[in-house]
Every structure is written in structure tokens, then in C-alpha cells.
């Protein structure tokens, strides 16, 4: 069956070509049709980009400052960098002279990673299936379902959380991994469905029809013909889902227990807590939290438009 998929893909290089064209057009490559500007525009854009990136840059800088340097007035641009803050994120003494102890952030980072990882995988599996269904088997009422699905994603989290909070308390799911992972799976599901649908919609159905005529079952068509063509889409959906879940705050604040607390919740609790005005320490937590997202954003830039609009706008 893989042979068939390869044969077909070889005979019809459309998906690859289409992917390349999207890459070229997305942010307006040479064929953008708007024309060229010289280095003058580069300088103007560099200034604007610097302003936009400065808050993030300054946090990363602050993470390497000592306690005194972070509080220095006027602010210091040049200083001797230290890694002390990054060590203290995980291990520090809570009062002067006391033994250094674990702050729990190892657990919180693990929780964030584990919870978002598992829930995104689940959402992707269920979502890709549903997206394929919506894309290939136009049923009566599909538009209504799709609208309903997107609406659940657009709903204010605070509205959804009130009944779920009570439900979780009654069923004993509050504060457990199962509860928060289940909730995040559903939270990611609408996004996964819409995003994957937009990728499935772009595939030409000819190949699938050919495979069906040759006697392939629906299951085989899905796994051997369609999925291989949307690997990039699956990856992009997964990464966007990871970022959404990684950043999520309100659900985690109300439904995670001591053992399942995620980084955003822990971070919000350290503000005004025992960290006080230890900005360097807070900046180190934020740096560890943000840098993965920034790196991933670089990798994702060609899919960014589709990702941030839940797949409703492709180009």
C-alpha cells in the first residue's frame, strides 16, 4: 500500500509543489506583486522590530542579572552575566541562611510538558479523524456542527469553567492529571479539527478515488494516502496546540492541584509571593517558559496565519 502511495505521489507532485508555492506566497516572496524596497526600508523595519522585540529581549537580559543589577537605577545595559537565577528557579533557600530546597519548578515544568503533550496528541488523533470526516463525507448539517465546534473554542473560558469546576469537584477529577488532560484535549479539539480540515480540503480527491477504485478500504485511504500528504499540517497543528496549552492559564488556575500545577499558575503565584521584587529570578522563570515558544514560532512562520485564525483563513 505504501508503494501505491509513493507511486501516486511520484506521478502527481502537486502536494509538494503546492506546499512550495504557499511558502513562496505566504509573506510575499519575489512574486508578491507589491514591488521592492531597498535597505532604507530595512532600517525602518529594523527599528520597528527592535521596539517589538525589546520587552522580550529585556526579560532575557534581566534573567542574567544579579539581584542588585536587576534593581539598579538607572537600568543597566552592561553587566557581568550570572547563571545564579536559573539555578535558583529550581533550588533556593527561602529565608536567609537556610538550607536550599527544591522550589517545585522541576515538577511544574514537567507537568506543563506532560499535560500539553498528552492532550495535544489525543486532540490530534480525534481531531484529524473528525476533520477528515467533515472534509470528505459532506453530510447534512455539517456546517452547523462546524460552527458549533468553532464557537466552543471562541467561548470565554470563564463561562465554560464554572459548570466544569463543579462537575470536576463532584466526580473527583479536580486536581488530577486525567481531569486536566481531558479538559485540555477538548480545549484543543476545535482548533485541531478546523486546522486539519483546512489541510485536508487542500488535497485533491483524485488520488483517493483512484485508490478506492483499486479496492482500498476507507481506513487504508485515510492512513496510506491522506495522512502522508498532510504530515506538515499535522506537525503545525500539534505545535500550535502545544503553544495554546502551554500558555493556558485560567483552566489550570482553577482545576490543577498541588501535584498537577502548571508553570503559568506557579508563575502567577510567585508574583507578589516569596519572590517579591527579585525580578531576576522571575525573569529567569519567564525566560525558561518563553524561549521554547519563541524558537517554535521561528520554525512555524509559514503556517502562522493559518494557525492564529484556527485555519479559517489560509491565504
Amino acid at each position: 500500500m505504501t508503494d501505491l502511495a509513493q507511486d501516486v505521489a511520484g506521478a502527481r507532485p502537486a502536494p509538494v509543489a503546492r506546499a512550495l508555492r504557499i511558502r513562496r506566497v505566504r509573506f510575499g516572496g519575489a512574486a508578491s506583486g507589491v514591488g521592492h524596497a531597498g535597505w532604507g526600508r530595512t532600517i525602518a523595519a529594523a527599528i520597528v522590530s527592535f521596539i517589538y522585540f525589546f520587552p522580550v529581549f529585556w526579560i532575557i537580559l534581566t534573567a542574567f542579572k544579579t539581584y542588585e543589577d536587576a534593581l539598579a537605577v538607572p537600568a543597566k545595559f552592561f553587566f557581568t552575566p550570572t547563571l545564579e537565577n536559573f539555578v535558583q528557579v529550581f533550588n533556593r533557600s527561602f529565608s536567609a541562611g537556610a538550607q536550599a530546597q527544591n522550589t517545585g519548578f522541576t515538577l511544574y515544568f514537567f507537568n506543563s510538558l506532560f499535560i500539553s503533550g498528552v492532550s495535544v496528541l489525543l486532540a490530534l488523533a480525534i481531531g484529524a479523524m473528525a476533520a477528515f470526516g467533515f472534509s470528505r463525507y459532506p453530510l447534512k448539517g455539517n456546517d452547523t456542527y462546524l460552527f458549533m465546534i468553532l464557537t466552543t473554542r471562541m467561548l470565554p473560558a470563564i463561562v465554560v469553567i464554572i459548570p466544569i469546576f463543579i462537575m470536576f469537584r463532584v466526580t473527583g477529577l479536580a486536581g488530577t492529571y486525567a481531569g486536566i488532560i481531558g479538559l485540555y484535549t477538548v480545549f484543543n479539539l476545535p482548533f485541531a479539527i478546523w486546522m486539519m480540515k483546512s489541510f485536508f480540503d487542500e488535497l485533491s480527491p483524485d488520488v483517493e478515488d483512484a485508490a478506492r477504485i483499486d479496492g482500498s478500504s476507507d481506513v487504508r485511504v485515510f492512513f496510506k494516502i491522506c495522512l502522508p500528504q498532510v504530515w506538515a499540517g499535522l506537525a503545525a497543528t500539534a505545535v500550535f496546540g502545544l503553544i495554546l496549552t502551554w500558555n493556558e492559564f485560567l483552566f489550570a488556575l482553577l482545576l490543577s492541584g498541588v501535584e498537577t500545577r502548571t508553570v503559568p499558575v506557579a508563575m502567577s503565584q510567585t508574583i507578589g509571593g516569596d519572590i517579591g521584587v527579585r525580578w531576576g529570578l522571575l525573569a529567569a522563570i519567564e525566560t525558561l517558559f518563553l524561549v521554547p515558544v519563541i524558537i517554535v514560532t521561528f520554525a512555524l512562520q509559514n503556517q502562522l496565519l493559518r494557525g492564529v485564525t484556527f485555519g479559517t483563513i489560509k491565504r
Binding site: 523595519a45 520597528v48 520587552p55 480525534i126 470526516g133 463525507y137 477538548v186 500558555n247
Partner: protein, 358 residues
């Protein structure tokens, strides 16, 4: 007469119902309903939930076995719809029901029916109208700023120039960051003594500058952060429109010596109009739900000047524990968002057709 002929027909139907086959979904449904009712009546809520969940899985399995190979589309879509129903739609309907009762989540007392009293209380509460007022001011300010700045950014980045790709990604980064982290570090920037803003102002005035202690100051503080994060989103959408304009239109206009502003109005604008509208709707929906940022940055202060409606719902529900009142309030928020989402999807579909047509 009828009973004599009916009984033999009823027996095979009954036999079919209790047949232990994997595709016997009506039987599983009966087991599910009876089992759940028994579990709720006899067991503690915690256990009855798991019993009914197990029976629901059994029912789902029989439905799948029945539909296998026959209703492929429905089968693919069903798990997602079922999950969404259990975790989203059902809780929402339940909370809608709850909004007609008097219920406090921190009391053991059973809910009592009060009819529309919660809605009446919410709609006549001057506090709520004040929070709505705050929210609308914030939405207007932040969406306008984002649209204008995002549009200008898009114009800046619309042409090809050296290093464009890398500079663009720097601008797009804030969009992907978490509100919590952003809120936390803007607290540092707005700090009266050590913050960069205060220090910058002090260079000129000689006094420390406290942005967040006045009503409009804290509003501007919030809007600045939100616009910083989300104006790149508007830029991204407008850019998509700008690069879709065919080049020959500009060439033709240049031959006819059409002035630049006229080119913009007649050629460029029609191509980005749809996307501008989508950006506007999308950002309005998101701004209406603004919670994390306000929670972290001002916590509604000074006083309640920046307390948004979402934050108010949070306070009523989880700090005052007036659960059923908060659900009534939440439904007002919900309604607004559903209307806006509907509009958004309508225009998104329209645009998808426009793009696909030529």
C-alpha cells in the same frame, strides 16, 4: 384480536434487544439508561459518575460496531462531537439550567428554584453595568489601536527588502507568548521605582512615574500590552491581503498615471477590506474575553476601573461563591461572543469563496 397478533411480533423484538451482540446498540442504550438511573439513586455521586461513564463507553462501542463500514463519515466525526458534548455543551446547558436556581458552590444546601431572579439581579446591578462599561472602553481602545498599528506595520512590511523575513518574525513573536508571562514582566516595566517606563519619564521630569494608579493610566497600560501582543495579528491578516493583489493592476494604473492614493483606494483597499473586517471581528471577540492580562497586570484596579466583565464573572463565581448568579452573568457574555463568532464565520466563508473563485 390485535393482542394475539402483536405478542409474537413483540417477542423477537425483545429477543433482539437482549441479544449479547456487539452491534446491539438499542440494548446497550437501555442498559445505560437503567444503569445510570440506578447508580445515581444508590451510589455516591463520585462512584455513580464512573459507573455511568463505563456504561456510556459500552453504548458507544455498540454504536461504533453497528455503524462500522456503513456510516463512515458519521463514525469519524462522532468521537469529537461526543467529547465536545460531554465537556463543553453539556456543562453549558447545565449551567444554563443552574442560572434559574439559587445555588452556592460552597454550601451543601440543595439548589432552589428562583426563576428569572438571577437575571433580574444581574441586569439591575449597577456594578455589572459599570464592568460592562469598562470592558467596552477597553475593547474599543485596544481594537482601534491594534487595527491602526497593525495596518501601518503591514504597509511597512508589504514590500520586499533585505532581511525582511527575519525582522518580520521578531515582530510576530509577541503574539505567541502567554498572557501570564507578559503580564508579569510588564509589571516590572511599569514599576514606579525600578521600571523602565518610570525611569524613562524621570529623565525628563525628574519624578518617578506611576502609570497604574490612575484610571486612564491603567487602561492605557493594559491596552499598550494587548496592542503590543496583537497588532502583529492584524498585520499578518492585512499582509495576506496585500500580497494577493495582482501586480498588473498597479502596472496598468501606473501607465494611466493614477495617483498613489487613488491606487490605494481603488486597487489595494478592495483586496484587504474583507481581511480587515475579519481581523476586527476576531480581535473584538478576543478582547471581549480579556481576563488573564487584567488579572495579572492590575487585578481590576485601581478600584474597579479596569475590572472587565470576565474578571467580574470570576469574582462572583469563585471569590464570592455566588455560583448561579455568575452563570446568569456568564450567559450574557456568551451571547455576545456567539453573535460575533457567527458574523466572523460568515465573512470568513465569504472570503474563502472570493479567494477560490478566480
Amino acid at each position: 384480536m390485535t393482542t394475539i397478533t402483536d405478542v409474537p411480533e413483540a417477542v423477537p423484538a425483545l429477543r433482539k434487544l437482549i441479544a449479547p451482540r456487539w452491534n446491539n446498540w438499542p440494548g446497550a442504550l437501555v442498559v445505560f439508561v437503567i444503569g445510570t438511573a440506578l447508580a445515581i439513586a444508590l451510589l455516591e455521586p463520585k462512584f455513580s459518575f464512573w459507573v455511568s461513564a463505563a456504561l456510556a463507553v459500552l453504548f458507544a462501542a455498540t454504536v461504533v460496531a453497528n455503524a462500522w463500514g456503513r456510516y463512515t463519515g458519521g463514525l469519524l466525526v462522532a468521537p469529537a462531537l461526543a467529547l465536545l458534548f460531554v465537556m463543553n455543551i453539556f456543562p453549558l446547558l447545565w449551567s444554563f439550567g443552574l442560572s434559574f436556581f439559587n445555588y452556592r458552590s460552597n454550601r451543601a444546601r440543595a439548589p432552589t428554584w428562583v426563576g428569572l431572579e438571577n437575571y433580574q439581579k444581574v441586569l439591575t446591578d449597577p456594578d455589572i453595568w459599570d464592568r460592562l462599561h469598562n470592558t467596552i472602553i477597553l475593547v474599543l481602545m485596544t481594537v482601534t489601536t491594534q487595527m491602526v498599528v497593525g495596518f501601518l506595520l503591514a504597509l511597512l512590511f508589504s514590500k520586499q527588502f533585505p532581511l525582511r523575513r527575519y525582522l518580520l518574525i521578531l515582530v510576530l513573536t509577541p503574539m505567541m507568548l502567554s498572557y501570564v508571562a507578559v503580564g508579569a514582566f510588564f509589571r516590572y516595566y511599569y514599576d514606579p521605582t525600578f521600571g523602565l517606563l518610570s525611569q524613562a519619564v524621570r529623565l525628563f521630569t525628574g519624578h518617578p512615574f506611576i502609570l497604574m494608579n490612575t484610571v486612564w493610566g491603567s487602561r492605557i497600560g493594559i491596552v499598550f500590552v494587548d496592542a503590543w501582543m496583537w497588532s502583529p495579528f492584524v498585520m499578518l491578516l492585512v499582509l495576506a491581503g496585500l500580497v494577493s493583489v495582482p501586480k498588473y493592476l498597479y502596472e496598468a494604473a501606473a501607465i494611466d498615471r493614477v495617483p498613489k492614493w487613488r491606487q490605494f483606494v481603488s486597487i489595494t483597499f478592495p483586496y484587504i477590506r474583507g481581511l480587515l473586517l475579519l481581523a476586527l471581528l476576531f480581535r473584538t471577540i478576543e478582547a471581549f474575553k480579556l481576563f488573564d492580562l487584567v488579572f495579572l497586570l492590575t487585578n481590576g484596579g485601581p478600584g474597579t476601573a479596569t475590572e472587565t466583565i470576565a474578571l467580574k464573572v470570576y469574582r462572583v463565581a469563585f471569590e464570592n461563591n455566588r455560583t448561579s448568579e455568575s452563570t446568569a452573568l456568564a450567559y450574557i457574555l456568551l451571547f455576545t461572543v456567539i453573535v460575533l463568532t457567527n458574523l466572523y464565520l460568515y465573512f470568513a466563508n465569504q472570503r474563502a469563496r472570493e479567494v477560490a473563485a478566480p
